[in-house]
């Protein structure tokens, strides 16, 4: 029986990293990021990563870990505002950066996973995002073409997963994870809770196991970036 379960993040990445690889990493801000797999990717020593991730983590956490060690050559993101080391490296010309509107990024990743090499969107028409991209009119409106994205490795974070790789996500920790799972040549998932086949309701599986090649159960710190509360009245 094909076994997708690995004992920890290091074991789950064994044999996958190579210098110059493209890695998709799930999460929005620090919410729903594969903390353990990011740390294991850093420990693998892999260099010159092109990282596709909506954000760049914060200093010393999330993808910030890989920025500190300069293992990332290029970021493909929609917003990178929370990371000082990122800013330093970028202004020093040590880091390449490709901005994508968030919805375009999400759709490019889904497209990559779905075998769609290009699609048209009106997002970014008339802005710097449109520069150099083919455009076409549909029903009298102009749209630009964006391309599908794939990765050599996708690392994603889920709430529960079974040994077949079926995943479910919790609340807004879902975000980019399901599409990235689809777009990785190899997808490795870390889950809060690893369960047996049949423990997840087949009607409510967010990511079918076909999109997940390796899986680990691991504890996450789950840092909060903007703790915001209201007064009890």
């Amino acid at each position: 029986m094909g076994n997708k379960v690995y004992k920890d993040a290091r074991a789950a990445l064994a044999g996958i990293p190579f210098d110059g690889m493209t890695v998709m990493s799930g999460g929005f801000g620090l919410c729903g990021i594969p903390e353990n797999l990011i740390a294991a990717l850093r420990d693998s020593g892999v260099q010159n990563i092109t990282a596709i991730s909506n954000n760049a983590g914060v200093d010393g956490f999330g993808l910030g870990l890989l920025l500190e060690t300069k293992q990332i050559k290029k970021m493909c993101s929609s917003y990178v505002g929370e990371n000082k080391e990122f800013e330093r490296q970028y202004l020093a010309g040590e880091l390449e950066l490709e901005f994508n509107p968030q919805g375009t990024l999400a759709e490019r990743i889904r497209a990559g996973g779905a075998g769609i090499p290009g699609f048209y969107t009106k997002t970014g028409v008339g802005t710097v995002i449109a520069e150099g991209k083919p455009s076409q009119d549909f029903n009298g409106e102009t749209y630009i073409m964006e391309t599908g994205l794939n990765a050599d490795l996708s690392i994603v974070k889920a709430w529960k997963g079974d040994t077949e790789g079926n995943l479910i996500f919790n609340a807004t920790a879902k975000n980019f994870n399901p599409m990235m799972a689809m777009a990785g040549k190899v997808t490795v998932a870390e889950v809060d809770e690893l369960v047996q086949p049949g423990d997840l309701d087949p009607n409510f599986i967010h990511t079918p196991g076909i999109f997940v090649q390796r899986i680990i159960e691991a504890r996450c710190e789950k840092r909060i970036e903007q703790l915001t509360t209201r007064e009890r009245t």
């Binding site: 929005f28 917003y79 509107p101 968030q102 807004t172 975000n175 967010h206 703790l227």
Partner: protein, 212 residues
Amino acid sequence: MAWTRDQMAARAAQELEDGFYVNLGIGIPTLVANHIPAGMDVTLQSENGMLGMGPFPYAGEEDADLINAGKQTITTLPKSSFFDSATSFAMIRGGHIDLSILGAMEVAENGDIANWMIPGKMVKGMGGAMDLVAGVKRCIAVFDHTNKRGEPKFLKACTLPLTGQNCIDMVITDLGVFAREGAQRRFRVQELAPGVTVDDVKSKTEADVVYD
């Protein structure tokens, strides 16, 4: 007297309609949530993957897995649903959101908006702003009428890199409300803050606006 931030938010809230699905940007637009009329059914979308955004949690009840697009901890409502980022922006790009209320650095008389980068400064990224202005049915920009140096931000043409082209339907500033009825129409003064005169506005506005 010019409106306060909260008054601007309250004015923007008057544009809400029963049954609306609405995306609120960061800053003044966030305050609009406090002014939704009682009994009006308005559903807030958070583009990181949620419909039916509830209020901030009580201290100790926050959930790291439950945040809004500003990365603040939030809560659910009975009607809430969660979805992935592709579905979230399918809603936005597909024109399913009724109204987007967002901040701006500049808005031009042709409806262009710039709110994501200042050349020469570190660029943080556009996040979902370009998708919102391109996809949402109606966009309202809320911002101070002038910048810190007293210069107009409602311009003939944007000087900063655009977030979107010809996509703003209404402008709400501390001085008043400016609306147009279609992408080919001019903005018209619809309302002025108490004590603000047309001459006040004219002196602080570069955009060619219709003053009736």
